[in-house]
């Protein structure tokens, strides 16, 4: 049985993240979406909000669990019996960063495999930071996030 960890900040979950998690769930036996438990300094949502939004978005997938975590991703993977870390690649600039991270992770834990999925073409432009920039300026984020995330974004920016 192959367990995979899909780590990230997910501030908030976008349709791009949900797409990667869904596709990972189709090829691995179990997927743990692991949300960094960080002080909200540069983040819009609290850890609890980020976990809740992602959990709701992935509720229909029986082999996916959503948790927060702190520490190194490779340590979480080892504790969870995961052999795989999943990452989504959107473009070359992503690739450089992911490659460096993957090499570091292999140095720290050679038995854990980093596996990259290519972002679906309809979400290629969709990063969480660009999404928030558009939302705060009043742009339409239709088809970019689930409805419950869109509501949460509206609440944050109306405050």
């Amino acid at each position: 049985m192959t367990v995979a960890v899909y780590p990230g900040s997910f501030d908030p979950a976008t349709n791009g993240h949900i797409d990667i998690a869904t596709r990972a769930a189709a090829i691995f036996d179990r997927v743990i979406v692991a949300i960094y438990d960080r002080p909200a300094k540069n983040l819009l949502f609290t850890t609890e909000e980020r976990v809740d939004m992602m959990a709701k978005a992935l509720a229909g997938l029986p082999n996916v669990a959503v948790h927060s975590f702190s520490g190194l991703v490779v340590d979480l993977a080892r504790r969870s019996g995961a052999k795989v870390i999943v990452r989504g690649l959107r473009a070359s600039a992503d690739f450089e960063y992911e490659f460096e991270m993957a090499l570091m992770n292999r140095k720290l834990a050679p038995e854990i495999e980093v596996v990259c999925l290519m972002t679906s073409v309809e979400y290629l432009f969709l990063s969480a930071s660009l999404l928030k920039e558009v939302a705060v300026l009043g742009g339409s984020i239709h088809n970019m996030v689930p409805d419950h995330v869109a509501s949460a974004l509206r609440k944050k920016f109306l405050r």
Copy 2:
């Protein structure tokens, strides 16, 4: 059960290819190494030679099979019940090409996932074409290919 196809020309199998196949075999239930059956115009080895060298190199892995194929990789994947196509990424230039191929494959067969593994750092410089360039100029290819591949290369270039 997740079956993965690892397609390529493998002219010849390098330690980099063998590393990717071995790592794919650790995370997927079955791996089919699929060798393009092409007329040898730009190739050094015949299809049969390339299959034999790869099969020998991967003989120790019970869940790996080596076959030649023609036609589209996605058609092979469908015929084989494979949900996954595995590709190794060595660097950004690889990434661009693989991304284009992956998008085309998703267009042709949306149900099949392209999964990229990062090349191990010790094989980063190792492409089959650069290997052949070094071998033909008399450079040492020690630690770059298995011994039986090194012998086959020597025979080709002594002719």
Copy 3:
């Protein structure tokens, strides 16, 4: 009045090329699609066939003309009174090549501007060479080329 030249081999015209030509026609007063008149060594279609297929695809755009040409693109632009050369960018690898070409063109003809349009996301995977590779292997090219181009491809590959 700004006239633009959109040069290429267009072997054959894809929906990606047609999209760029259509969008150029929306922002410039006149667009000349300029098809390289090259000996067919590495090309599938003759110059005449490539011009005819593109002309048919763009017949609905009154401010677009399709011609073949030989020589330098900047010389064609000067002869045609064009101030602009249009290029479509699909990805970073394209960018590097286009950048080098654009710098050379500015050296040869500083008064002519190279303008790049970003490929629509649905044609990102679509190069003429990958299209032909898929077509020759029997893959579906639906939604990648106009119907008359698909027919022409089928005829070529059935011979």
Copy 4:
């Protein structure tokens, strides 16, 4: 008539920005240089200063206007009757970011075209942030900005 918007922070206007605006003015009927009206947290100059410096630099171009704006660029383009957003590309790293922005803009406003001009080779090294870094360390910024911008920079850094 084709109106183009050229948006940016322009903190401050460099000869590279002025070159792009000038070249855009040669191929489009009207160009609006649109300067982000942002609180000066990470900026050196106020919005008013940035508008004034750019307006002075482009005073000789009758079909160019300089304004500040807030909100989304595509909304500004729509309000201004602009069909085109102009961006300057300096290198591959720029390209990745611009590509993501262009895809997002097309999603938000498919009728507006993002058009990229290649930076002139003599300004390839010239970003506003690197310029400020050089100026604050006392390096010569001769030929990198107009004289009135150089004076403004000296005043800021002497305070």
Copy 5:
């Protein structure tokens, strides 16, 4: 006699930096490792600590000196009689940034040459910022820094 400057923040010195300095010392007559004297806002170690750690790491190389500096690198090079600035390249993303810096430096001081060495493959994943991220999360940094740097990191993060 060719003197080379190798500038950086070195916060802290990694085995990757030490490798580049050592290799530069093998091909140039004298190497000055020049450490930016910056207020420690985004830095973990003080200038003095960074100089001491680097000096200790390079103590065995008789033709290498370690100094702090402020101002432009090209001014330091001129003051030191250096004809060369050395930089280490880890990947394409590094390259873009280094290229921009190199072009700016040539504009400021055309007589000084920027020379890039390729990072050794075993340090490809090793940036000072990623190192600190791993160290703060309790990951092993064995083989990534000299022992005295590892001790210094532990002290910082235990406070």
Copy 6:
């Protein structure tokens, strides 16, 4: 004393190549320009012609020699007592290829250093292959090659 080898096809020598050789000669004690002695299949000029054109172009530099060679560059470097291989980088795409070559060369000869110089901005667009494309189409190659190379190109293309 540091000897450097600058290898290439130089088909023909461009002002970009001459610039790199000249700058290498300023920082290393001796520079050997090493021209691949290859059958002229994909080359325009014979090995002898390429050596003669380069030698003439660099005649004013007393510490530079021009030779043809076959075999591996690292073997030539060893035979010549060279510690350094010099390469010119024009852009990111170059970088990827040069990085792979450099890693392979370090594997074959760890004691020899690959050193990259950044192409001068005025030759950024100038590759030997693009130059030949322009020349054959009758474009001006003024300022791109020395006069004797321009004459040689004209003779080739008039045949």
